[in-house]
């Protein structure tokens, strides 16, 4: 049995690796093969032919595509992401600190939203159809309908500007203490929590309700157990797998939500770096950021699969 699980996990792991390689090809292809010459789009329509030829040479655009891809990939594997076109700086260096900042933001958002989502999910199943459930459903519907940047400005307007409780710009640096940092990122964290909370809570509720329809829950009800005990002792353990899965998927979503929130709050993270350089058409930076975002996303999805394989014995049997 254990050997079988190990096999499955190894398979899933290899699949994840393969996916990352294919994604790197796709991202590379997306920026290199698409109509529209990179050199042309950097210099604009009015560029002289000489300038274009020079830039193509500098970017190595004259080599065949697969050679360029391989040299890029071998660079990436050695931690060399190339240099930015716009300011010539080493990309890996610029990303280093920013990646840390982004993970810091995402970590605190996850730490708050996950327990909150599970508790709210439990509450809304416990009070199913009554006002706490309806209230939670209505609020989540509303928060799904508002894009992240809107939510950010609403919070900024009321909490930061009118009440003055938190700064409207989330600048952090290494000299700040943890508490100062947390105060600085209070609003972006709040936005991210709201964004993922709704979805996670809905799915937790759905997963629990699904389990609640099983025969053994009916048995527990007929035995006369109270509702809390039924949900906590009988339904919850059986819905852990889908819930963990949802949590992981939302963590992956968080990684993307971070892009917009960072731009709004001028937070020195990966997202802002990416968006800035898309506007400047700085292709090497965009490629590097794209592969890192996609890599983290694939990693989290892989973890979600692995957790569900471990938590749900039924998935271990081949169909």
């Amino acid at each position: 049995m254990n050997a079988q699980i190990a096999m499955l996990l190894a398979q899933r792991f290899l699949l994840g690796l393969l996916l990352i390689v294919l994604v790197s090809i796709l991202i590379f292809a997306g920026t290199q093969i698409l109509p529209g010459d990179v050199a042309q789009s950097i210099l604009g329509q009015s560029a002289t032919p000489e300038a274009l030829a020079n830039l193509r040479e500098q970017l190595g655009l004259n080599a065949p595509v697969h050679e360029r891809y391989l040299s890029w990939l071998s660079g990436v594997l050695q931690g060399d992401l190339g240099n930015s076109l716009t300011n010539g700086r080493d990309i890996a260096e610029s990303i280093g600190a920013r990646l840390g900042n982004t993970l810091f933001l995402a970590f605190w958002a996850a730490l708050i939203s996950v327990p909150l989502a599970i508790v709210l999910g439990l509450v809304s199943v416990l009070y199913r159809g009554r006002w706490p459930d309806r209230l939670i459903s209505a609020v989540t519907l509303a928060s799904i309908s508002i894009p992240e940047f809107m939510m950010s400005y609403i919070l900024m307007f009321y909490v930061a500007v009118q009440l003055g409780w938190a700064p409207s710009v989330a600048m952090i640096d290494d000299r700040m203490s943890l508490l100062q940092k947390l105060h600085a990122i209070a609003l972006p964290v709040a936005v991210l929590v709201m964004v993922v909370l709704a979805h996670m809570m809905r799915m937790t509720r759905a997963a629990l309700l699904n389990v609640m329809q099983s025969a053994y829950i009916e048995t527990a009800e007929l035995k006369g157990l109270n509702r809390f005990k039924i949900i906590w002792r009988h339904a919850f353990p059986n819905s852990i797998a889908p819930i963990v899965n949802v949590v992981m998927l939302n963590m992956a979503y968080l990684i993307v939500g971070v892009v917009v929130v960072e731009v709004v709050f001028v937070y020195p993270g990966m997202g802002q770096y990416l968006v800035d350089h898309v506007a400047k058409r700085d292709v090497p930076v965009v490629q590097a950021c794209g592969i890192i975002f996609a890599g983290v996303y694939i990693l989290l999805n892989m973890l979600a699969d692995i957790v569900s394989i471990l938590a749900n014995p039924r998935l271990r049997q081949p169909k």
């Binding site: 994604v23 920026t31 698409l34 799904i144 309908s145 508002i146 609403i154 993307v256 965009v286």
Partner: protein, 272 residues
Amino acid sequence: MTRIPLPALIGLAVTGAYFLAALFAPLLAPYGLSEVVGDVWEPSSAEHLLGTDNIGRDLLSRLIYGGRTTIFVASAATILSFFTGSVLGLFAAVVGGWVDQLLSRFVDLIMAIPTLIFALVVLSVMPVTLPVLIVVMGLLDSTRVFRLSRAVAADLAVMDFVEAARLRGEGRGWIIFREILPNALSPLVAEMGMRFIFMVLFVSTLSFLGLGIQPPEADWGGIVKENKDGIVYGISAALLPAVAIATLAIAVNLVADWILDRTTSLKGGRNG
């Protein structure tokens, strides 16, 4: 046909109003799209019901024209996404074999990259114009439609009436469009509402990041971007498009929920 429940009715009315406003924008808007008619960030008055924006244009007119752009782009992208996704999805389910494998694995691959990130990567080399935006958004999103329609059609493809059509010697086109599509339509229509909302949010986000609709054209995300600096002075102009997007999104959600409810109860599914 049973009575339409109240939330769905409200949803239909609000959605309809937005589409009408988008259609008749030039008649409804009191001023032109980029006409400077007053001071910077005037408060609301009789002449400018919602005040003016960051360079003195009438905010209400901007919002109406912006809604037109947003709704148009989102609709076009949704239609493209549905057309591509459902045709390929139905095709994959009916044909099966290596075609299905190839298409499905390719879709898995694209979905392994977060949509926004992929869009940003592509937009870093493509010129940001309306058609490019619509195509990029529509094609990226069609992966989701593909998955749904393939799953629905794979269930239908093994049903007796499809088998009967096969034995009658009907061609693939007939089986896809006359046997499977009519039965797969209701879940697809409900999904369409959700995809449309996603597109509205997506194009707003791109414009907000400065990578979507380019000024002086207006759209809801762009209006937020233009007026965001007012926030720190306590000027709420940037929040108005939020109200527009949120009400539209909630309205469409209500309609989609109702359609989904109806189809599951028609199938005798356990709901409620």
